[in-house]
Symmetry: C5
Subunit: 342 residues, 5 copies
Amino acid sequence: MPPKLVLPVERKRGEPALTESRRTVVCSRGGTCEAAVDASEISSLLEQKDTFVWLDLQNPQAADVQLLHDEFQFHPLSIEDATRHHERPKLEAFEKYYFMVFYELGYSRDDQRLRSQAIGLFIGTNYIVSVHNQPIATIDETIKRWQNNTAEFGNDAGALLYSLLDSIVDDYFPVIDELAERVEDIEQQIFEHFQEEALQQVFALKRDLLGVRRVVSPERDVLNVLIRREVPIFERNTILYLQDVYDHIVRITDSIDTYRDLLSSALDAFLSLQSNQLNQIVKVLTITSIVLMCDALIAGIYGMNFEFMPELHWRYGYPFALGLMVVISISLVLYLRRRKWL
Amino acid sequence: MPPKLVLPVERKRGEPALTESRRTVVCSRGGTCEAAVDASEISSLLEQKDTFVWLDLQNPQAADVQLLHDEFQFHPLSIEDATRHHERPKLEAFEKYYFMVFYELGYSRDDQRLRSQAIGLFIGTNYIVSVHNQPIATIDETIKRWQNNTAEFGNDAGALLYSLLDSIVDDYFPVIDELAERVEDIEQQIFEHFQEEALQQVFALKRDLLGVRRVVSPERDVLNVLIRREVPIFERNTILYLQDVYDHIVRITDSIDTYRDLLSSALDAFLSLQSNQLNQIVKVLTITSIVLMCDALIAGIYGMNFEFMPELHWRYGYPFALGLMVVISISLVLYLRRRKWL
Amino acid sequence: MPPKLVLPVERKRGEPALTESRRTVVCSRGGTCEAAVDASEISSLLEQKDTFVWLDLQNPQAADVQLLHDEFQFHPLSIEDATRHHERPKLEAFEKYYFMVFYELGYSRDDQRLRSQAIGLFIGTNYIVSVHNQPIATIDETIKRWQNNTAEFGNDAGALLYSLLDSIVDDYFPVIDELAERVEDIEQQIFEHFQEEALQQVFALKRDLLGVRRVVSPERDVLNVLIRREVPIFERNTILYLQDVYDHIVRITDSIDTYRDLLSSALDAFLSLQSNQLNQIVKVLTITSIVLMCDALIAGIYGMNFEFMPELHWRYGYPFALGLMVVISISLVLYLRRRKWL
Amino acid sequence: MPPKLVLPVERKRGEPALTESRRTVVCSRGGTCEAAVDASEISSLLEQKDTFVWLDLQNPQAADVQLLHDEFQFHPLSIEDATRHHERPKLEAFEKYYFMVFYELGYSRDDQRLRSQAIGLFIGTNYIVSVHNQPIATIDETIKRWQNNTAEFGNDAGALLYSLLDSIVDDYFPVIDELAERVEDIEQQIFEHFQEEALQQVFALKRDLLGVRRVVSPERDVLNVLIRREVPIFERNTILYLQDVYDHIVRITDSIDTYRDLLSSALDAFLSLQSNQLNQIVKVLTITSIVLMCDALIAGIYGMNFEFMPELHWRYGYPFALGLMVVISISLVLYLRRRKWL
Amino acid sequence: MPPKLVLPVERKRGEPALTESRRTVVCSRGGTCEAAVDASEISSLLEQKDTFVWLDLQNPQAADVQLLHDEFQFHPLSIEDATRHHERPKLEAFEKYYFMVFYELGYSRDDQRLRSQAIGLFIGTNYIVSVHNQPIATIDETIKRWQNNTAEFGNDAGALLYSLLDSIVDDYFPVIDELAERVEDIEQQIFEHFQEEALQQVFALKRDLLGVRRVVSPERDVLNVLIRREVPIFERNTILYLQDVYDHIVRITDSIDTYRDLLSSALDAFLSLQSNQLNQIVKVLTITSIVLMCDALIAGIYGMNFEFMPELHWRYGYPFALGLMVVISISLVLYLRRRKWL
Ligand SMILES: [Mg+2]
Ligand SMILES: [Mg+2]
Ligand SMILES: [Mg+2]
Ligand SMILES: [Mg+2]
Ligand SMILES: [Mg+2]
Ligand SMILES: [Mg+2]
Ligand SMILES: [Mg+2]
Ligand SMILES: [Mg+2]
Ligand SMILES: [Mg+2]
Ligand SMILES: [Mg+2]
Ligand SMILES: [Mg+2]
Ligand SMILES: [Mg+2]
Ligand SMILES: [Mg+2]
Ligand SMILES: [Mg+2]
Ligand SMILES: [Mg+2]
Ligand SMILES: [Mg+2]
Ligand SMILES: [Mg+2]
Ligand SMILES: [Mg+2]
Ligand SMILES: [Mg+2]
Ligand SMILES: [Mg+2]
Ligand SMILES: [Mg+2]
Ligand SMILES: [Mg+2]
Ligand SMILES: [Mg+2]
Ligand SMILES: [Mg+2]
Ligand SMILES: [Mg+2]
Ligand SMILES: [Mg+2]
Ligand SMILES: [Mg+2]
Ligand SMILES: [Mg+2]
Ligand SMILES: [Mg+2]
Ligand SMILES: [Mg+2]
Ligand SMILES: [Mg+2]
C-alpha cells in the first residue's frame, strides 16, 4: 500500500546542502551510557527492558529512513511525516509508540525574522527518536544532561520528553518578548512621529504573530491530549510536569492574542488620528483660502480698468481698499470662530 | 414515494455536451483483473466474496442510473445526489453502503480560474462506484494502479478509498500554492506600486479562498467521521492512512485561514497607507496654495489702479513688492515648519 | 390556566381581509379518499387506525380554533402558536403529537421583495393539521398528489411530512438564486459604474440575506432534531428522506453565509476603490492648481502698476513672461513626476 | 460566616426615597384567600400543605429582611442578592427553594429611555416571595388574578411562576418594538436627509440594544435550565407553559441580534455614502476650479502691463481673449468627460 | 528531575528592593490563636487535626522556599509557580493539596494606572499558604478577622478561602467603576469637544479593559471548577458561598465586555462624525471658492489691458461688473441649493 518506504528527502528551493548527523545514545538502568552504538544493534537493545535508547537524526538520509523502518518498525506514514517536515504540531497514537510533531521557534534580531523548525518525535516505552533538519541546541543539551544524570532522569520516556518540551517552550518566551517589544515600539511611533515604513512593520508583525499562533495553538492541543487522556500515557508525576509546559503554552497563546488585539487598536487609533488631522488641515485650508480669495477679489475689483470708477480717484482709495481687506478678513475669522469652525 | 427514479440528467446552461463513459473493473482475490464486464453480470459478481468491483461512471446517462438502481440497489436519494452534483461534501450511512461526496479542485494559471468538480462515491464491502461529470485523471490513475497491483492493495474498499482520497487531496496543494503566490503578489503590490486593478484581484482572490474553504471545510468533517467513529467503518490500519489524509486537509484549512487573515491585513494596510498619503498630499496642497495666494494677493494689490498709491512711484517699489512676496513666503514656511506642519 | 382558548385572530395593520378556507381530506388505507368531511366527524375518524386525516386551515376563524381544541384536543399553547404566526421555526413534542413551525419563502422580482409566511403543523400518528394565513400552493399540490396516489405515499405522517417539507425547501432555491443574482449585479456595478442607489441596494440585500438566514437557520435545527433523535420520531426510511431535506437546508445556509461574505468584501473593495480615486483626484487637483497658481502669480506680478518695472519696457518682455510660465510649469511637472507624485 | 445578616439597604446616588410596602396573600386549597396576614404567622402557615403564600416586598427594610431570614429561613446569600438588586438574571438551587433573579423592562417614549428593574424570586413548594425596589404592575395584577381565581391556578408554584414570567416577558415586546421603530427611523434618515444628531441616536440605540441583550440573554439560560433539567423542577404541564415563555425570549434575543446587525450595516452604508459624496464633491471642486483658474490665467496674462503685447492692440483682442477662455473651458470639460472624470 | 528546588527569586527590571515578611498564624479548634510560630514546628502542627495554619509569605526568600518544600512538602513545580508570579489564574490538583493562582487588582486615580498582583495559594485540609510579592491589605484583614473570630469561621479551609476570594473580588468593583467612568467621559468628549489626546485615552482604556479581562476570565474558570466539580472539593454550604463569588466575577466579565462594545461604538461614531464634518467643510470650501473664483474671473477680465473693450468706457461699466458678480454669485448659490448641495 502506498506511500512506498524509500522516501527521497525533499529539497527546498535555494536551500544550501545540510550537514548530516546521526547520534545514538544508549543508557542502561544502572547508569552507564554509551555514546555511539552501531545501528544494527538497536533492535536487540530495544528488547532489553533496562536500556533506554535516544536516537537523534539530523537531516536524515535514505539509510536513516531505512533504519527507522527496519529496526524500529515505525509505520511508513509516521516516517514520512517525520522526514518531510511541513506537518502541523500533532500527536498520533500507533500500536507501540506515539508520534509527535513539535516546533522550535527562533528570532534573529538583525533582520527581524522569525524562524521555525519542525521536530518529529517517536516516543516508545524505552526509546525516543528525534528527527529534524537543522541543528537544534535544545536537543543536544537535553541529551547531554541526561547522559550525565541518568540517575536523576531515570530511564523514563516521560521524564525525558518533559525535559525536551520544557526547554523548547522556554525558548518561546524570548521570541514572544521580541514581538511584544515591537508592538510597543509601533504604539509609540503611532502617537509620536509616524512614518510610512511603520505600516509595513505593522503588517510584518501581524504576519509574525499569525505565524507563532499557528505553531503554538495546535501544540496546546497536543499537550492537552497528553495530560487529559482518560487512559493516561505517562505516570501521574510526569503529567504534573507536562501540565507545567501546558501552562506556559496557554500563557503564550494568551499573550499573542493580546498583542494582536493591541496591534489592531493601535491601527484603529492611527486611522482616527489621521482622519482627525486631515479634518484639521482641510479646515485651515478652507478658512485661509476663503479669506485670501476675498482679499484677492477686492484687489481684482480695484484692478479693473473701467473709466468711471470713483474710488480710484479718491485720495484715500488705496488705504480704503486695504482697510476693506482687513475688515473682511477679520469679520470672516470672527464669524467662523463663532460658528465653532476655527 | 418521490423522488421518482428516472432522473433526467441536468444540463447546466451553456455547457457543451459531454462525452459519456462507463468503465467497470473487476478483480478477484487471486489477483486477476477483468477490464470490461457486462452490466447485467454485476449483481451476481457482487455476491462473490472474493471479487471486488470498481464501477466508474462519467457523465452518467439514464441507463447508468438504472444500473445503479437495479444491480446495486442503491437508495434513490443517494443516486439523485450522485448524479445532480451540486451537493456539499458529506458522508451518509445507508444500510449496506456508505455514500460520500468529495471534490476535485483544479486551477488554471492562464485565466486564474479555480475549478471544482463533485465526485459521488458509493462504498460497499466489495465494491466502489464513482460518479462524476468530467474526466478526472486521479480516478483513472488509481484504477490503473490497482489493476496492476491488486496484490499490494488487496481487495479492500478502505485501501482503495484511501488511495483515491489521498491523490485527490494531494492535488489540492498546488492549488493552495497558487493562491498563496497571489496573496504574496498582492502584498508586494500594495507596498510598492499600487494599481487600481489590484483591488479587483484582491476581491477575486477572496472569492477563491472562500470557494476552497467551502469545499475543504466539510470534507474535513467527512474524514473526521471516517476516523473517529465509535464503531469504525474500516480496519485500524486503514484508519491510520485516512488519518494522514485528514491531517493534510486540516493543514489546508489552516493555510486558507492564514491567507484570508493576511489578505485582510494587507487591505487594512493599504487603506492606512492611502489615508496617510492623502494627508500628505492635502498638506502640501494647503501650504503651497496658501503661500501662492499670499503672493498673488500682493501682486493683486499693486495691480490696483488707484490714483494715489505711493509705492507705485517709489524707485524700488517693484523689488520691494517682490521682496515682500519672498519674505512672506519664507516666514509662512518657517512658521508652518515650526508648528510641525511641514 | 391562561392563556384562554378563545383566541381572537390578530389583525395586522393595513392588511386586507383574507378569504377563509377549511379543507379536510381523509384517506383510508384501502386507497379511497374523501375530499370533504364534516368537522364533527373528525374525532371519530381519528380513532380508526386505517384512516389518515389531513386538515388544512387557511386564515383560521374562531370556529376553526375551537375545532382544533375539541376534536384534536391540542394544547392551547400550540393552538396559539399556530394561529398567531410570528413564531420562529421550531419543533415541540406534546404528549400525542408534534407541533412544528416552518416557513414558506417567496420572492417577487418586480419590487425585489422577499415574502415569508409561517406554517403551523400538528403531526400525529394518523393526521396532519396545517395552519396558515395566505394560500400556499405547495400545500395544495402535496394534498392533491397524495389524494391521487395514496398507495405510493401510504397513510404515513412521515412520508407526507417529507413531501411537504421537501417541496417547501425546494422552493427556497429560486429565492436564493435571485439573491445570488443581486449579489453578482452589485459586484459588477462596484467595479464598473457605481451609482449612489447601489448602496441602498446593498443595504436592502443585506437585510434580505439576514431575513432568510433568520428563517433557515432554526429550520436546520428543527430538521436536525427530526433526524438525530435518540428515539427516532419516524421510521428509518423516512428519516433518510428527511436527511435529504436537511442537506438542502444546510446547503442554503452555506450559500447565504457565502453571499454575506461576498457582499462584505464587495463593500470593502468599493471603499478602497473610492479612497484610491479620491487620492488620485486630489493629487491632480493639487498639481494642476499649483501649476496654474504659479503661472497666475507671474501674470499678477507683471500686472502690477509700478512705475519702475524694467521688464515691462523690454521688447521681448511679453514672450519672456509667457516663456517663464511655460518653464515653471514644465519644471514643476517634471519635479513632481520624479518624486513619483504624478 | 460573613456576610452578616443585617443588611443595610443600599442607597443609589440621587435616588428619591421610596415608599415601602409589604403585601402577604395566603390562599388555602379550598379557594379562600386572605389578603393581609401577620408576619409572625407565616412560618406556621408554610407548614400547612394546603395553603399557599405569596409575599411581595417592595423596597424592603431591615424588618423585612429579618422576616425572610427568621420565617422563611432563606440563605443569607440569597437574601443579599434579592435586596441588593444589581445581580444578573440567574437561577440558584438551595436546599428547600430556588432563588431566581429576573428583570422587568420598560421604555418611556418621551425621553427615549430604557428602564430595567430586578425582581428577586424565592420559589418554594407552597410559597413565592418576590422582592423589588419600585412598584411593578405585573406583580400586582398576577396576585390579583390569582386571588380571584385560585381554582383555575391551583396552589401551584409552577403555575403562578409561569403567570408572572409570561406577563413580564410579554411586556418586553413593546420595548423591542420601540427599538425596532428607532432602527427603522435611522435607516430612513441615513438614506434621505442625514443630520449630525442622528449619529448620537445611533450610538444611544446601540447602547439600548446592548442593555436589553444583557438582560435577556442570561434570562434565556434561566428558562432553559427550568425546562431542560434532567430532574424537572415542575410538573410536565407547567414545563410546556414555561417553554412558551422560553420561546418568546429566544425570539426577542433573535430580534435584538437582527437589529444590531441592521444598525451596523446602516452605519456602514452611511460611511460609504459619505465617502461617495465626498468623492463627488471633490471632483466637482477640482474640475470647476481648474477651469476657472485657466480662464483667470488668461485674464491675468492680458492684464499684464507689458509695453509690447500685440494682442492688446488688435481690434478683436478682447473677444479673442473671451473666446479663448470659452474654448479652453469647453475642451477641458470634454477631455475630462472622455476620461470618465465627469 | 528538573526544575531544581533552590529557586533564585526573579528580579524584575528597575523594581526597587522589597521588604520581606513571613507571618504564621495557628489557631486550634478550641479558638485560641498563636500569632508567631517557629517554622520548624509547622510540620508537626499540620499533623494535629484540630489546628489550622495560615502561612503568609511576602516577597519570599530562599529560606521561605525551602520551608515550603521541607515542611509542607509541596511539589517543586507549584512552588516555582507561586514564587515566579507571572502565571495565569489557575487551579491545580496535587495529591494532598490544591494550588491556586489568583490576582489582586488596583487602580491609582492619579496616573490612571491599573495594577495587578498575583497571589499563589496552597490549600490543604488544615492549612492555607499564601505567597505574594507586595503587601496585600485584603490578606492582612482576612487573617486578622479570622484570628479574632475563629469560632465564626471554624477551622475550615473552604470558609477561609471564601473570605479571601470574596474580599479580593469585591475589590474589583471599584476598579471596574473607574474604567466605566472613563468610558463615559470618552463618550461625552466624542460628542462634545473632541481633542486629539482623547484618542490616546481610548487606546489606553482599551488596553486596561484587555488587561482586566485577561485576569478575570481565567479566574471565572477557576471558580467554575471549584463549584461544579463532580467530586466537590468543599462541603455544600461553602460551595454556595463560592458560587456568590463566581456570580460577581461573571458580572464583572459581563461589564467589561459591555464597556469594550461601547468603546468600539464610540470610536465608530467618532469616525462617522469626523467623516461627516469633513464632508461639510469640503462642501463649504467648494462652493465658496467657486463663487469667489467666478467673481475674481470677472474682475480679471475687466482688468485686461485691451485697447478695444467697450464696457470699460461705459458710464455704468463699473456698477455693471459689480452687479454681474452679485448676480452670478446668487445664481450659483441658488442653483447649488436646488441641487441639495448646500
Ligand atoms: Mg518551562
Ligand atoms: Mg525549564
Ligand atoms: Mg522599545
Ligand atoms: Mg509553571
Ligand atoms: Mg516552569
Ligand atoms: Mg504547574
Ligand atoms: Mg496525501
Ligand atoms: Mg499521496
Ligand atoms: Mg510572486
Ligand atoms: Mg502525513
Ligand atoms: Mg502523505
Ligand atoms: Mg500521519
Ligand atoms: Mg428537495
Ligand atoms: Mg423535491
Ligand atoms: Mg446579472
Ligand atoms: Mg439530495
Ligand atoms: Mg441527500
Ligand atoms: Mg432532493
Ligand atoms: Mg439522502
Ligand atoms: Mg407570553
Ligand atoms: Mg401572556
Ligand atoms: Mg418610523
Ligand atoms: Mg407561544
Ligand atoms: Mg404565549
Ligand atoms: Mg409553545
Ligand atoms: Mg463579594
Ligand atoms: Mg464581601
Ligand atoms: Mg464623568
Ligand atoms: Mg451575590
Ligand atoms: Mg456578596
Ligand atoms: Mg448567590
